[in-house]
Amino acid sequence: MTAGDLFLQQAINGLSLGAMYSLLALGFTLVYGIMELINFSHFNVFMVGAMIAMLTLQAFGLHGQETILTGLPLIGVLLVAFIVAMTVCGFIGVAIERFLLRPLRSVKGPAAMITTIGVSYILFNVVLLTIGTDSKNFPNPLPPITWEIGGAVLRLREILIWVIALVLMGGLTYFVTYTKLGKAMRATAQDPEAARMMGVEVDQVVMSAFFLGSALAGASGMIFGLYYNLAKVDIGFASGLRAFTAAVLGGIGNVPGAMLGGVLIGLIESASGQLVGTAWSDVVIFGILVLVLVFRPAGLLGRLAPNKS
């Protein structure tokens, strides 16, 4: 492989990782934008999403990589797994908000954030005790179709991940731009009290943010499984932290920012893995984060919050 081929290969890998981080970062940014809450339970909602997707694929009789599907069965199975993972995660998010965070809504200080850390550990331990601590083989029914671009290899898996991510991000963008509830979410993010006085019901908006963010985390969890061919109870922390970094890098609270931040983190991770070794990629990722925050504290696309009077 020439240097150019290596670069291209890492760009392909980075875009897939980036798609995963972007979807996960959106959940942080939606919730933060509306409630100014850093939702640490999101880390493990993502992990649960990977597990649910795995269990769904296994329910179709798929184990590991030996069974290959094509055509409609392939599309159908993948679609069902994505929908199940997204729906289950969406409702987990709604339940977390409704029963654990809403009672704390009027409590000032870090109580709500600490609660999300607690919920994260509960999810972690529930999966640990039911599914186990070992690395699971994530079913991958995709046929091994590859294309060669110069010396770089583009797999069908990559195309699938990109298409799913584009469809979901396009759908979310459409939702927040054009629908009534989406506009209410943006208005609430910009001025919660004024939005309320327009007749927006804050509970409905907060619940929608949790549902959408958590559903996207479910999709992201399934992408993790397809990309690495594994699912494990501890995947939430590393991926979640990088996705959170992506949200901050893009400007937390900013939807396009989370998408951009996610793709950048994915590209940085794969490029630094190539250039200085995977062991150093976290150092590079978080080093870049620190630099961006020093020079652009609001993130790449973010705005510093105006002083509210």
Partner: protein
């Protein structure tokens, strides 16, 4: 009074934590009236607005709207029933377009022919708003923002508009325009409850007024009576200065 008032405060007491803000406050807003609420800083004017909108709840006393007690009614339901705010310092959604801000004003209203009719009404009242409809509202001048804020309130098909300092930070030309518009809207049958520092202007268009001091209504009467009151002359009219904006 033979007719049921549109909105009535009876013995309202409101607290922020331990701070007793409104103390046994009574207001009456009749149908078709412009009511001006005068008072210095931190006297409870904004709390009055928030209590009307249901963002702050009264600890004691009753708020009645169209003859019904609404103490426990959610803000969204109050808006649906026809109480719309023009908030202090406009409070538009800065990263939404002018059109989207107007849509937010109509949040509790069904979408359809009525919406198109209402938005045309706002455009005919403020041609400038129509010109700016696709611009982000944060890029507008203060006067233009105030037009959008009033238009946004009209989109809720209100019976009562509560205005918090509608002339604040505006040039004299825009102050004139805003007060003219308030009268136009009022003549179309909408009651106006207005908190305003510019007592001179406010009393020139209001039918009646209340003076609030440290959370207590110390004076009320027709606008004429208030304009001629010595205390008002000294405290509110005498010190009138139009600050450069």
């Amino acid at each position: 009074m033979a007719e049921t008032p549109l909105l009535e405060f009876k013995g309202i007491n409101t607290y922020y934590g331990d701070l007793h803000v409104l103390k046994d406050v009574d207001y009456t807003i009749g149908k078709g009236e412009i009511i001006s609420l005068l008072g210095g800083n931190a006297c409870g004017k904004s709390t009055t607005m928030k209590t009307i909108m249901g963002v702050v709840r009264a600890a004691r006393g009753t708020v009645t709207y169209e003859g019904q007690e609404i103490n426990g009614l959610a803000t969204s339901e109050r808006v649906r029933r026809g109480i719309a705010p023009v908030l202090e310092a406009r409070r538009l959604f800065p990263r939404m377009t002018v059109y989207e801000n107007l849509e937010m004003g109509a949040y509790t209203q069904p979408r359809g022919a009525q919406f198109e009719e209402d938005i045309e009404r706002v455009y005919s009242l403020f041609p400038r708003v129509k010109e700016r409809r696709n611009q982000l509202s944060g890029t507008l001048s203060g006067g233009e923002q105030q037009m959008v804020a009033i238009g946004r309130a009209l989109m809720a098909r209100p019976k009562l508009i509560c205005m918090d300092e509608p002339s604040m930070g505006l040039s004299p030309l825009f102050v004139e325009l805003v007060f003219d518009t308030i009268q136009t809207i009022n003549r179309q049958g909408v009651s106006i409850f207005m908190v305003e520092q510019n007592a001179n202007m406010a009393l020139s268009i209001a039918h009646r007024g209340y003076v609030l001091q440290s959370g207590v209504v110390v004076l009320s009467g027709t606008a004429q009576e208030l304009r001629e009151n010595e205390m008002i002359k000294q405290a509110y009219l005498g010190e009138m200065e139009i600050e450069p904006t």
